[in-house]
C-alpha cells in the first residue's frame, strides 16, 4: 500500500473528469444537433443547401473525433483510443492488482470466479477498488464486504448446482460477448468449487517483478488491503 498514493490519484482524476464531462457532453450534443439538421434537410428544395448541411456535419465530426484523438482527451463516444498506450514496468513499482479470496470457517482461502461479481465485470471492480477503496469509511467498507461476500456465496452455490454458473444471456450461452479482458472460469467444474460457505472475504494487493515471476510463478508480493468477516 505504501508504494502508491491512491487518494491523490483519485483526486487528480476527479478534477479532470468534470472538465471532460462538460466538453464531451457539448461535443455529443453538437454531433446530434448537426446530424439532425442533415436528416431534416431532405425537406429542403435546394440540393446545395442540403449539401452544405452535410458538409458542416462532416466537418464537425472530423473536428471532434480528431480533436479527441490528437489531443488524447477522451470525449466519449468520441474516444482517444489510448489502447495499451503505456510502457509496462519490469519491476513491481505499480498500483497493486486486487485479488479477491473467500474465507471459509476453517480460515482456508479460495480464489473466486470472475462471474461471481456480475453485473460487475472483474476489471471494473478491480479498477474501482484500486481507485476508491482507500477513501471508504468503515461503515462503507462493511457494506462493500457484505455485498461482495453475498455475491461470492451465491455464485458458489450456483456453481455447485447441476446447471453451474449461468451465462449473462441464457439464449446466447457460450456465444455471449466476452468482456475486453478474458478471465479463466475457475468454477466451471463442481470439483473446483469451494465446498463450504464463505464467512469472510479478503482483498489482497498483488505486485510482482515480471522477470522474477517468469522464473518462479509463485514470486508474488501480496499485501492485505481489505479483510471482511461476516458478523
Amino acid at each position: 500500500m505504501g508504494r502508491y498514493n491512491w487518494e491523490n490519484r483519485a483526486d487528480r482524476i476527479g478534477d479532470l473528469t468534470v472538465k471532460t464531462n462538460i466538453s464531451s457532453t457539448f461535443c455529443f450534443l453538437m454531433f446530434v444537433i448537426l446530424g439532425l439538421r442533415v436528416a431534416l434537410a431532405g425537406g429542403l428544395r435546394s440540393s446545395i443547401a442540403q449539401r452544405r448541411r452535410t458538409n458542416i456535419f462532416l466537418c464537425a465530426v472530423l473536428l471532434i473525433s480528431f480533436g479527441a484523438g490528437l489531443t488524447q482527451h477522451n470525449l466519449w463516444p468520441f474516444s482517444s483510443w489510448p489502447v495499451l498506450a503505456y510502457a509496462v514496468p519490469t519491476g513491481s513499482n505499480y498500483p497493486p492488482l486486487p485479488r479477491f479470496v473467500g474465507v471459509d470457517t476453517d480460515r482456508r482461502e479460495y480464489d473466486i470466479d470472475y462471474r461471481a461479481w456480475r453485473p460487475l465485470g472483474l476489471e471494473e471492480l478491480e479498477s474501482w477498488i484500486r481507485l476508491h477503496l482507500a477513501q471508504l469509511d468503515p461503515a462503507a467498507r462493511d457494506r462493500l464486504g457484505t455485498y461482495l461476500l453475498g455475491r461470492a456465496n451465491r455464485a458458489r452455490e450456483q456453481a455447485l448446482s447441476p446447471a453451474g454458473l449461468p451465462y449473462p444471456n441464457r439464449w446466447f450461452g457460450p456465444l455471449t460477448a466476452p468482456t475486453h479482458m478474458l478471465h479463466p472460469a475457475i468454477w466451471s467444474h463442481p470439483g473446483k468449487v469451494p465446498p463450504d460457505r464463505f464467512v469472510g472475504l479478503r482483498i489482497y494487493g498483488e505486485t510482482w517483478n515480471l522477470e522474477e515471476r517468469r522464473r518462479d510463478p509463485q514470486k508474488v508480493t501480496r499485501v492485505l488491503i481489505f479483510d471482511y468477516r461476516q458478523p
Binding site: 455529443f28 446530424g35 468482456t179 478471465h183
Partner: protein, 312 residues
C-alpha cells in the same frame, strides 16, 4: 503544385464523401451495426448496474451522472430502457422504421453503455459500444432505410444511385479506422518509439500471461516474450499496422490487404495477451455488398464505380 489549389481540395473532398454510392452498402452497415449492438447489449447486465449498492456509486460525480443522465437506484427503469433499445435495434436490423430505430437505439446506448464502467471511469471505451453509439446515430441521419427493409421506405423509389449513400459509409469506416490510428498515435505520444522496443513488448507479453486473473491463453505470449526478434516484429508491426490502416480509406489495395489482416491482428492479441476486441465484425462495412449480392446472383451487375465506398 496542385495541392496548393483550393479547388483540388474541394474536388478531393467531394470525391471522397460524395462519390456515387450504393444503398445496399448503407443498408448492410445498418444491419451490421444493429445486429452487433444487439449482441453486445444482450450479453451485458447493464440495467442491474443501476441497482448496485450505493457505496459503488458514491464516488461518481454529478457531472458524470448528468452527462449520461444516469441516476442509480432505478434498475427497473433501466431494464425497460434496455428492452426499448433491444426492440429498436431489432427494428433497425430488419428495417421497420430503420432511421427512427437507429436514432432511438443510438441515444439510448449513449445512456446505457456508461453504466458498465461509470462507477470508476466516465468513458467506457473498448467495451463494445463506443463506435455503435456514433455509428447508429450517423445511420439515422442518412437514408439507411432505402434498401433491405421489411417495410419499404418512402424514398425507396426516389434514389437508386446517389451520393447520399456514400458519406455515411465513409464516416463509419473512418470511425473504425480511427480506433487503430489513434491507438498507434497514443502509443507514440505516451511512450514514444520505445513502445515498439523488444523489452516493452516482452513486458507486455509477460504481464498478460503472468497475471493469473486474465491468464486463459499463455503459449503464444510466452513464446513471443522469449524471442527478441519476435518482440521487435510485434512492436514495429503493431505501430506500422495501426498507423497505416488509415490508408484503407483512400486506396483499394490497402483495403483488400489490411482490413482482413485486422481480424488476424486481433486473433493474435487474443491468443498472446488475452485481450478481446469486440468490434471486429463491424469491419464488414468495408465489404462491397453489391459485389456480394452479384456473386450470389441475386441481383444484376453491381456498381463497379472505383470511388464507391466499400470496394474490397
Amino acid at each position: 503544385m496542385k495541392f496548393l489549389d483550393p479547388s483540388w481540395w474541394i474536388a478531393a473532398w467531394n470525391r471522397f464523401w460524395f462519390a456515387r454510392g450504393s444503398p445496399r452498402n448503407l443498408a448492410a452497415a445498418r444491419i451490421i451495426f444493429a445486429a452487433y449492438s444487439l449482441w453486445v447489449l444482450l450479453s451485458r447486465n447493464l440495467a442491474e448496474m443501476s441497482g448496485l449498492p450505493s457505496v459503488f456509486w458514491s464516488q461518481v460525480g454529478a457531472s458524470a451522472r448528468w452527462r449520461y443522465l444516469v441516476f442509480p437506484g432505478h434498475p427497473g427503469l433501466e431494464h425497460v430502457l434496455v428492452w426499448i433499445t433491444a426492440i429498436a435495434l431489432l427494428g433497425g436490423m430488419v428495417g421497420v422504421l430503420p432511421r427512427f430505430c437507429c436514432f432511438v437505439s443510438g441515444l439510448l446506448l449513449y445512456h446505457l453503455a456508461p453504466l458498465e464502467s461509470l462507477i470508476w471511469i466516465p468513458h467506457p471505451y473498448a467495451r463494445g459500444f463506443t463506435i455503435s453509439v456514433i455509428a447508429l446515430l450517423t445511420l439515422s441521419f442518412s437514408p439507411c432505410g432505402d434498401c433491405w427493409t421489411l417495410l419499404p421506405s418512402r424514398r425507396d423509389k426516389l434514389s437508386a444511385d446517389s451520393s447520399d449513400y456514400t458519406w455515411p459509409v465513409r464516416l463509419l469506416q473512418l470511425y473504425l479506422v480511427e480506433i487503430y490510428f489513434f491507438s498507434g498515435y497514443a502509443k507514440l505520444m505516451g511512450v514514444g518509439w520505445k513502445w515498439a522496443s523488444a523489452s516493452n513488448i516482452r513486458n507486455w507479453m509477460l504481464w498478460c500471461t503472468e497475471e493469473e486473473q486474465i491468464r486463459v491463453f499463455h503459449t503464444l505470449g510466452t513464446w513471443i516474450a522469449d524471442r527478441p526478434f519476435a518482440c521487435w516484429s510485434v512492436g514495429i508491426g503493431t505501430l506500422l499496422f495501426e498507423l497505416g490502416l488509415i490508408t484503407a480509406l483512400f486506396w483499394k489495395w490497402p483495403r483488400r490487404v489490411l482490413v482482413p489482416l485486422v481480424a488476424v491482428f486481433h486473433l493474435g492479441i487474443l491468443l498472446a495477451m488475452n485481450l478481446v476486441f469486440l468490434n471486429v465484425p463491424q469491419l464488414l462495412v468495408f465489404v462491397d455488398w453489391d459485389r456480394v449480392v452479384a456473386w450470389f446472383k441475386l441481383q444484376p451487375k453491381p456498381d463497379s464505380s472505383p470511388t464507391a465506398p466499400g470496394v474490397a
